[in-house]
Amino acid sequence: MEEVNHKETPLMTKLFKARKKSETETVKDSNPASKIAVYILLTIGSFTMLIPFLWMISTALKSPAEAVAMPPVWIPQIFRIENFARAFEVAPFGRYFLNSVLITSISTLGELLTTILAAFAFAKMKFYGKNLLFTILIATMMVPGELLIIPNYLTISKLNLINTYSAMILPYLASVFSVFMLKQNFESVPNELYYAAKVDGTSDFKFLWMIMVPLSKSAIVAVAILKIIGSWNSFMWPLIVTNERLLRPLPVGLQAFTTEAGTQYELLMAASTIVIAPMIIIYLFLQRYIIMGVAKSGLKG
């Protein structure tokens, strides 16, 4: 059965595999010199992109004197891994880290659950007012999230949830964007498969989890990773609903650390590395899903 994966592969092929048509173009029209020029430009560009990261890691491993040395030192004499340990001492980064892991994982799992169910209903089930409801939901994507912060803060405080994990998790347990993405994907699963499963004796619920979800694995992973990145990096909302130090997720903790660390740039950079590194690791392993998610969201948005 090809039609299911079909939907994803052309895109993936485009981005990751053979670029057949442009190949013929390049081969014909570019002489070696222009090809070298292209590579030189790309190398300079990517180096520029990498400088902040390299500089961050380099500073994170320096002694205080090296950090402010002029001219700048790129490779410290000794790699001071202990800067990381010191950062953990000066501020509870271990706790921040756990908070971030907790908030990110619960909101991601929760969102997957709610959106998979809803996307399935929108993609394959029949109910009154379906199109109207979906249109309304899509329309809300136009509204900037920042506008919602004020009433949401009031709702959270009314629920007595200020300074709780729930405050940081609850509003993110569902996402219209993810419903939209998954609905598109679920719709591409042919109806015959649904009928076949019906004939074979599955309920709608079983069909969703036994057939639909495994078939839409890559779209679900893409949605999940985009969510993880967004959740991990989210800043304004946790900043607003928490003022207790031990509840802070990493970005909020890091921001507070800038005043706590003062001018100890090597510690500040070590702390920044702690915040950035997990997402980069996830990115390196799962980048095809992330890029697919971005490309798809772009195609539809």
Partner: protein, 296 residues
């Protein structure tokens, strides 16, 4: 097979959408309505939640507030500084990436890297790069014979610092969209153009650019919308302040300040509505533009 909804199937579907609707209803739909109402609160007791009167005072107030005018101005400067430059650079890189096979994926991964990083964390890194005495950027400028620039402490440079960083952070996202767009252009057009005698640059202006219309539209709309919402960068780059002497005040920062620091909910909501309207108008204008100039 078309089948009409029934009461039974509707009830069943309700079970599936209920959890999502509960969250979205509470934290997306309801607040939209509530924000609109709040922006018209004229007299409001924040402790009891009582509203004694409604009116457009909040809107009048913010437009009389020089800080808000500055916020709007800065936000526009930010959008104009970031979006066109980002589009030009990312399109250039995407075309270069599209022309090579070896290492293309590797380069793409690097350009995309900033997308996954925390804005706050990377802003702190940039703050360090911008440092007037020990910063890498001023050192590099010094090598080229320029005197150091006070990126973060001189009010006239704060927007520039913000814009450079934002372009850097957003490139990867645009590059991906452009790569998809470029790949959707049928290679036969290029062959045909070559037969017709079009040179490299002519092929770019006559085929690539026009056929990239929809992608261009998409990238610019998303760029504009995201740039209008700039906040995290400001907060982290200028150590929880809207830039030196408030010089990098943006609309979202203004909302945050009025709401979180000054508890002026009505004012904050009104500013939020203005932001929404600006984004809406921009999107509609871009859509109209797209309809007019992108044919197919």
């Amino acid at each position: 097979m078309i089948q009409k909804p029934t009461l039974k199937s509707s009830l069943k579907s309700l079970l599936y959408i209920a959890p999502m609707m509960l969250i979205v209803g509470t934290f997306n739909l309801y607040p939209i309505v509530r924000s609109f109402l709040m922006s018209f609160y004229a007299d409001y007791n924040i402790f009891t939640g009582e509203v004694s009167s409604y009116g457009i005072n909040n809107f009048i107030d913010i437009f009389k507030d020089p800080e808000f005018i500055l916020a709007i101005r800065n936000t526009f400067i930010f959008v104009l500084g970031v979006v066109p430059a980002s589009i030009a650079i990312s399109l250039g890189i995407a075309i270069l990436l599209n022309r090579v096979q070896v290492l293309s994926g590797f380069f793409r991964s690097i350009y995309f890297l900033p997308f996954v990083t925390s804005t706050v964390a990377i802003s702190i890194v940039w703050g360090w790069i911008y440092h007037s005495r020990f910063g890498l950027l001023n050192y590099a400028l010094g090598l080229l014979g320029f005197s150091p620039i006070e990126f973060l402490t001189d009010p006239s440079n704060s927007m520039l610092a913000l814009i450079i960083m934002a372009i850097w952070k957003g490139l990867g996202f645009n590059i991906i969209l452009f790569l998809v767009g470029l790949n959707n252009i049928d290679g036969n057009y290029y062959s045909a153009a070559k037969i017709d005698g079009a040179k490299g640059w002519q092929r770019f202006t006559n085929i690539t650019l026009p056929l990239l219309g929809p992608t261009m539209f998409l990238v610019s709309v998303m760029g504009v919308i995201n740039s209008f919402k700039v906040f995290d960068e400001v907060f982290a780059l200028f150590q929880s302040r809207p830039g030196p002497a408030g010089s990098a005040m943006t609309v979202v920062y203004y909302i945050f300040q009025k709401f979180y620091q000054e508890s002026q909910y009505g004012i904050a909501a009104a500013a939020g509505i203005v932001l929404f309207l600006i984004i809406l108008v921009f999107t509609l204008v871009q859509m109209a533009f797209n309809k007019k100039f992108v044919h197919y």
